[in-house]
């Protein structure tokens, strides 16, 4: 016999649940994956025939593939037939004011210093008329359009710029690349598309003003960025605010195309739900990110990975053109029972290509942090240069740090350097800071931020400030 309290709770939950589902019912399909589902997704999105064919081909490849097992993470088996592959954009329940938001979530927002209006949007609170996201977005879109810059959702781009999408989709990450990339190619939900025309320098950080909308693109996100000859663009992905999702598996694909003398800077802050303190729940983030740089082009990946139960991600550069440059700056944090296997691949094909890898792994609690990196210098990549630096920081004695660098050099004129270090946040450093008046938490924060400095300075200013705070929140309770 349930107590009255339980009954009330059940009732409350039920109402919430029903209210939620009735809105989206007709836009949700049965779990499971087969050719019909792929056709249905394409049809719902009113996609052209060529894209459906592309998806179907990817699906055919995926069926023949098996999940990779080489990584240094323990993954519970994913039942791919128990995933729903299409649902319309989520309708979050609308709240009337910030008072209705979960106090814990609100506290995190405050710690991160997220502006109030953004907090409201993130938590689904009706937004004041003064700050209308749609109108802000439109203003920026007009400004971008004047310069010929295209920036839209992936689905929109398929409708409005099919030739561009068709030309570059899968040109950097083919569907056959790996298990998760093939899956994404078959069923991708939505994502972003950007094209910067020849010689244009994009006047703003793309997605700064759109990141809230971008947070709801679903579990199989697809992003394609093309910078034409001499173009420059800086793109921000993700959000420091904690992101929860019903879907456990996230398999995104990001492709960057930097044509001759173009520059693309791609910065990510990832804070997906990491699971609880005992390691229950949490998102599996299996992402394929790769960029192709033509003559004199430059691609910079900067990532701050603090969330997810499992992170599996290797933002890479194919340095195809002569004198092209690839950079990878990464901070990956694993606390509690989080696992990360992340790093990069720098594939040097052109002459005088250079790449830089700076990876900072922080492990706390029972976290396991793996750096995996490949530097491959082809036989035609004369005078190629690579510098790699992999530093690991351990907090406590239950966590682990692992480094797997792979170097393949196929000519004699190239230089590859690799430096690695592992250190602990030591008691003496903490005591020193405390003796100067800082709390233990602030001391750890300061030491960890110092450790990550080389990566943070690559981030756009306002993002860097949030990322520093995020690191503090992620490591809360890891010492003492």
């Amino acid at each position: 016999m349930p107590t009255s309290q339980e009954t009330i709770e059940q009732l409350a939950n039920k109402d919430y649940k029903y209210g939620f589902i009735s809105d989206v019912e007709e836009e949700r399909i049965e779990p499971g994956l087969n050719e019909d589902v792929v056709r249905l997704i394409s049809q719902k999105k009113k996609e052209p025939e060529w894209l459906l064919d592309w998806r179907l081909k990817a699906f055919g490849l995926w069926k023949e593939m098996t999940e990779p097992v080489w990584h240094n993470v323990k993954v519970k088996p994913v039942d791919y037939q128990n995933i729903t592959y299409y649902s319309a954009p989520k309708n979050q329940p609308k709240l009337n004011s910030m008072d209705e938001v979960d106090p814990e979530v609100k506290a995190t927002f405050d710690k991160l210093g997220i502006p109030l209006e953004e907090q409201k949007m993130l938590s689904g609170v009706a937004v004041d008329a003064v700050f209308d996201s749609v109108s802000v977005a439109t203003t920026f879109k007009d400004k971008l359009a004047e310069l010929g810059i295209i920036f839209s959702s992936f689905s929109e781009a398929v409708q409005e710029h099919p030739d561009l999408v068709r030309q570059y989709l899968g040109s950097v990450v083919p569907a056959s690349d790996n298990f998760y990339a093939a899956l994404n190619s078959a069923v991708f939900s939505d994502g972003s598309f950007a094209y910067i025309p020849k010689g244009v320098r994009c006047p703003m950080e793309l997605s700064t003003y759109f990141r809230i909308n971008a947070a709801q693109t679903g579990q199989f996100e697809r992003t394609l960025l093309v910078a034409d000859d001499g173009a420059t663009v800086s793109y921000l992905e993700g959000c420091t605010a904690p992101q929860r999702d019903e879907n456990q598996l996230h398999a995104a694909v990001v492709e960057l195309v930097a044509l001759d003398s173009a520059t693309i800077k791609y910065s990510t802050v990832q804070n997906w739900y990491p699971g609880d303190k005992d390691g229950k729940g949490g998102i599996y983030n299996f992402v394929t990110k790769r960029g192709k740089a033509m003559d004199n082009a430059k691609i910079t990946w900067t990532q701050v990975e603090t969330g997810s139960a499992i992170t599996w991600k290797y933002p890479s550069c194919i340095l195809q053109g002569d004198n092209s440059v690839g950079e990878f700056y990464s901070v990956a944090v694993t606390n509690n029972h989080q696992q990360a296997d992340t790093g990069t691949k720098m594939i040097h094909l052109g002459k005088n290509t250079t790449s830089t890898i700076v990876s900072k792994g922080i492990s706390a609690g029972f976290g396991q942090n793996t750096y995996r990196g490949l530097v491959r210098i082809g036989k035609n990549a004369k005078n190629a240069r690579n510098f790699s630096q992999c530093d690991s920081l351990l907090i406590g004695d239950q966590c682990g740090a692992h480094t797997f660098p792979y170097l393949e050099v196929r000519n004699t004129s190239s230089q590859v350097e690799h430096e690695a270090s592992t250190s602990k946040v030591d008691e003496d450093q903490i005591f020193y800071c405390r003796q100067r008046g800082l709390s233990t938490e602030d001391a750890v924060n300061m030491i960890v931020n110092g450790f990550c400095k080389e990566v943070f300075r690559e981030l756009p200013m306002e993002f860097a400030v949030e990322a520093q705070k995020l690191l503090g929140v992620s490591l809360e309770g890891s010492v003492g």
Partner: protein, 254 residues
């Protein structure tokens, strides 16, 4: 200001302090001397609140409060400053950044407004004139790649900016050449005032030529075995620590 009564302390089960008694009044400078292993650094670390040291018995009262009950950062905010014998390196953390955070913690505790970057730099430049400190030192990571002398100078510089009420110098003179020694002394003397006190822990008398103490205590086997005025330091210099140890090893009943 500080009253240490019958303090017993140990580290890793080894007893180091065997009943130390010291009283430091506001405005006084006390020197604590003694041979290696006598417990000088242990005393300094216990006063700062280092957790590896276990206080077995005794009391320490600071301005009437129980110092031993306070967390290290509370002691610091209340004005207890330890100039470390071996200042640690914190790679990647800007020296000025740590100092600003420390100063603002102290100010917050005192109910004063926190300084912004501009105000902080103005203050720092003003204090820099007291010591011969290169501004470049401020922009480097905390003690990272500093020479021994630079590390000690940096400790003194932090002290000058934080203006502690009780400064404890743990063998700040060790490994310093005469010029650096003078800079350290300059810093300590600049802070001398009727409401501030200093404890200078040292092995050698030479620092006391530059920082003239009001009292000198000799620590031996974890206990103060002799106290006196500044002339005691000279006597020690002349006769060595053996003199004290010989004198005190004679049983009291003899």
């Amino acid at each position: 200001m500080l009253e240490v009564r019958n303090l017993h302390a140990s580290i890793g089960g080894r007893v180091i302090l065997n009943g130390v008694d010291i009283t430091v009044k506001a405005g006084e400078v006390h020197a604590i001397m003694g041979p290696n292993g006598s417990g000088k650094s242990t005393l300094a670390n216990v006063l700062a609140g280092r957790e590896e040291y276990e206080v077995n018995s005794g009391t320490v009262s600071y301005d009437g409060s129980d110092l031993l009950e306070m967390e290290p950062e509370e002691r610091a905010r209340e004005g207890v400053f330890l100039a470390f014998q071996y200042p640690v390196e914190i790679p990647g953390v800007n020296n000025a950044y740590l100092l600003k955070a420390a100063l603002n913690e102290v100010r917050k505790h005192r109910g004063e407004t926190e300084l912004d970057a501009m105000e902080f730099m103005t203050l720092v430049k003003e204090r820099m004139n007291v010591l011969e400190i290169d501004q470049e030192l401020l922009n480097r990571p905390v003690n990272d790649g500093f020479s021994g002398g630079e590390k000690k100078r940096n400790e003194i510089f932090q002290m000058i900016v934080l203006e502690p009420r009780l400064a404890i110098m743990d063998e700040t003179d060790s490994g310093l050449d005469i010029d650096a020694l003078k800079v350290v002394a300059q810093g300590v003397n600049a802070l001398r005032s009727p409401d501030r006190s200093t404890i200078v822990v040292t092995h050698y008398q030479r620092l006391l030529n530059h920082i003239v103490p009001d009292f000198v205590h000799v620590l031996s086997n974890g206990r103060i075995v002799k106290s006196g005025g500044k002339e005691l330091a000279l006597e020690l210099e002349e006769k060595g620590y053996g003199w004290i140890e010989d004198a005190t090893s004679v049983p009291a009943s003899a």
